[in-house]
């Protein structure tokens, strides 16, 4: 535990990198490697701490391990070594069902390709994570409608994903990610598949959600627009965080 305390909230250069509040998400000496003819270190001894309400942007060249790091932070994949703690819960102590529960209750995901279920309407897609909980059908519907209103899609609730534009689909995905009031929203290139106008709208939406609801975001993006809104920008290279900058806020 002593070792963990030493590295928690510390950047690779040893300087504390904690935000203004208590860290809600921590990664300690995370390692993830793949064997593709030779051992590839996708995430190489990464430690970081993210505070409640922080807006973190992770940038870096393709293949530097951003998405892998996001997967590890979200409990989608397990590290070869190291630890992730979200709201005090250690991932290594959770079995697969425990991790699933944690993702259901504490983590929201937004993907580059929206990843909506194509045969469900916008309302049903947003309702889906809520239906994993014990909420009543009525409460689920009301909450899903609120979320769709919040992202400006109240009138598109009954539309299927294919009947919506990319920006609209991504808004639905964001509404879905927020459905269970997660401790942190992890977004992987959320604007990577959108035109520049929609990108700005999306960045504004993320900013609004962060400011109004104090929602914690960790966003992997190449989009400079996000860096402007970030509290911190983490630069990744070869699986390591090699630079941490203050964002535009």
């Amino acid at each position: 535990m002593t070792d963990a305390r030493r590295v928690l909230g510390a950047a690779p250069n040893g300087q504390p990198q904690t935000g203004p509040g208590e860290p809600i998400l921590r990664a300690v000496n995370l390692n993830k490697s793949y064997f593709l003819g030779e051992v590839i270190y996708a995430v190489d001894d990464v430690s970081l701490a993210i505070d409640k309400g922080e807006f973190i942007v992770i940038v870096g060249p393709s293949g530097c391990g951003k998405t892998t790091l996001l997967s590890l932070l979200g409990g989608l994949d397990r590290p070869n070594s190291g630890e992730v703690l979200l709201a005090g819960q250690r991932y290594s102590r959770l079995n697969e069902n425990g991790l699933a529960q944690l993702r259901r209750n504490q983590v929201g995901f937004v993907f580059q390709f929206f990843n909506l279920i194509s045969h469900l309407t916008a309302l049903e897609n947003v309702s889906l994570p809520l239906r994993f909980t014990r909420m009543s059908r009525r409460a689920v519907r009301e909450r899903a409608e609120q979320l769709l209103d919040m992202v400006g899609l109240g009138q598109r609730a009954s539309h299927l994903p294919l009947q919506m534009s990319g920006g609209e689909q991504q808004r639905v995905a964001i509404a879905r990610a927020l459905a269970n009031s997660p401790a942190v929203v992890l977004a992987d290139e959320p604007t990577g598949n959108l035109d520049s106008k929609t990108k700005n709208e999306m960045a504004d939406l993320f900013l609004r959600l962060n400011e109004e609801f104090n929602q914690t975001f960790v966003v992997v993006s190449h989009d400079e627009g996000f860096a402007r809104f970030a509290h911190r920008v983490l630069h990744m290279r070869d699986g390591k965080i090699d630079k941490v900058e203050a964002g535009g806020r």
Binding site: M1, T2, D3, A4, V7, V28, N29, S71, G74, L76, D77, R78, P79, N80, S81, G82, E83, R90, S92, E96, N97, A100, Q101, L102, R103, R104, N105, F109, F111, N115, L116, I117, S118, H119, L120, E124, S127, L128, P129, R131, F132, T133, R134, R137, R176
Partner: protein
């Protein structure tokens, strides 16, 4: 399970979405189920045929024991107790000299079941011990017809010639009876010296034959009916013959059934695998949102269960329709029994379950990243990781 509402929602809309593929799966499953039901019904009929062979009233005894001396009632009962005797009937077998040479005369009690082996015996059976049924060939050779007298002489006597009135020709289906003169064992006449014994199995028949030979010795002549005689069946040879009959009808059917199962299984496997490939992203999304293993299992059970239900119902209807149209081709009654329908349903469910098990296992084992990025799924995963320094 609080995941069920979400699972149900995804499953029901997923079933509607992949309607074409589901219909194909249902059709394949219906075919599998119907083929099994038809074949099973056919076998039941064939089995009935075989059983009819076993229960055939024309069956003669398994062991015919011809004794040298008269058998007492005690001796008969003693023999009846031995081995696995299921029925034991006394008779008298004596050789006589006739104008056509030596002939065996068998006198049967009135209540003997062997009369049923003699065609028309109820009408032409000798009403008295003074009448006789003679083999048809002998009747033609001697120019005898009903009502005429057949002279007979005891084989080792020069005197004692007597005659029996011809009651009719012997048309027994049994090889032994067919070649004999047959008369009634009269109450005041000679006592039984022979036994027709029915045993429950071939081993019993052989055992009894040995015992009789041992106890009564030469010149007792117990003999086992020959197995290659199609009309001479022991209970077990009847069973083996029925098995043979079944096998002749069964083996080609089993091969065809096996091929149907294999091809249908492969078809279902391919479709479920394709469905799994197509739904990787959906499964990834569900897992990302916290779908647990049991939720995934419920999802698959709902989907595959719905397909199985539809397939089995369709297969049963198909089988009933085909039985109604092709009933004449079936050896037995062409009706689908409840047991056969139930077995067919289980077979259908098993084939679908077997075909879907690997894709289901892959779906369960896959991580979100493997599903999202089309990475190979590892069914076995070693748990690695943990807190550094913890």
């Amino acid at each position: 399970m609080n995941q069920l509402p979400a699972v149900w929602s995804v499953a029901s809309s997923g079933l509607r979405r992949g309607a074409g593929r589901r219909v194909l799966m249902i059709a394949i499953l219906a075919l599998t189920t119907a083929v099994y039901m038809l074949y099973s019904t056919y076998l039941l009929g064939a089995g009935g045929e075989a059983q009819a062979l076993i229960d055939d009233p024309e069956l003669p005894a398994d062991v015919v024991f011809v004794g040298r001396r008269t058998l007492t009632d005690d001796a008969i009962q003693d023999i009846a107790r031995r081995s696995s005797v299921s029925a034991c009937e006394p008779a008298r077998v004596i050789w006589y000299k006739s104008p056509a040479g030596y002939l065996r005369l068998i006198a049967l009690p009135r209540e003997s079941r062997l009369w049923s082996s003699v065609l028309g015996a109820s009408a032409a059976a000798p009403p008295t011990s003074q009448q006789v049924l003679i083999p048809r060939g002998l009747a033609e050779q001697l120019g005898l017809s009903a009502g005429q007298e057949l002279p007979l002489v005891p084989p080792q006597a020069t005197a004692g010639r007597f005659s029996l009135q011809v009651a009719g020709t012997n048309e027994a289906t049994d090889d032994v009876l067919r070649t004999c003169l047959i008369t009634l064992l009269g109450g005041n006449g000679p006592r039984a010296n022979s036994l027709f014994v029915w045993t429950r199995n071939e081993a019993g028949a052989r055992s009894l034959a040995s015992l009789l030979a041992l106890d009564y010795g030469v010149p007792s002549r117990p003999f086992l009916r020959r197995m290659d005689d199609p009309l001479v069946l022991t209970a077990s040879t009847a069973a083996s013959l029925s098995a043979e009959v079944l096998a002749q009808k069964y083996m080609p059917g089993v091969s065809a059934l096996g091929l149907v199962f294999v091809f249908c299984g492969i078809g279902l496997f391919c479709i479920t695998s394709l469905s799994f490939m197509d739904r990787r992203r959906d499964l990834a999304i569900l897992k990302t949102m916290g779908l647990e293993s049991r939720g995934l299992l419920a999802l698959l059970l709902i989907e595959q269960g719905a397909i199985a239900l539809c397939g089995v119902v369709a297969g049963t209807l198909l089988a009933v329709a085909l039985l109604a149209r092709l009933g004449s081709l079936f050896p037995g009654p062409a009706t689908l029994s409840a047991v056969t329908a139930l077995k067919g349903a289980l077979v259908g469910a098993f084939v679908l379950g077997a075909a879907a098990s690997l894709p289901a296992a892959l779906a369960r084992a896959a991580t979100v990243n493997e599903l999202l990025f089309n990475l190979p799924v590892s069914l076995y995963r070693q748990r690695v990781g943990g807190a550094a320094g913890s």
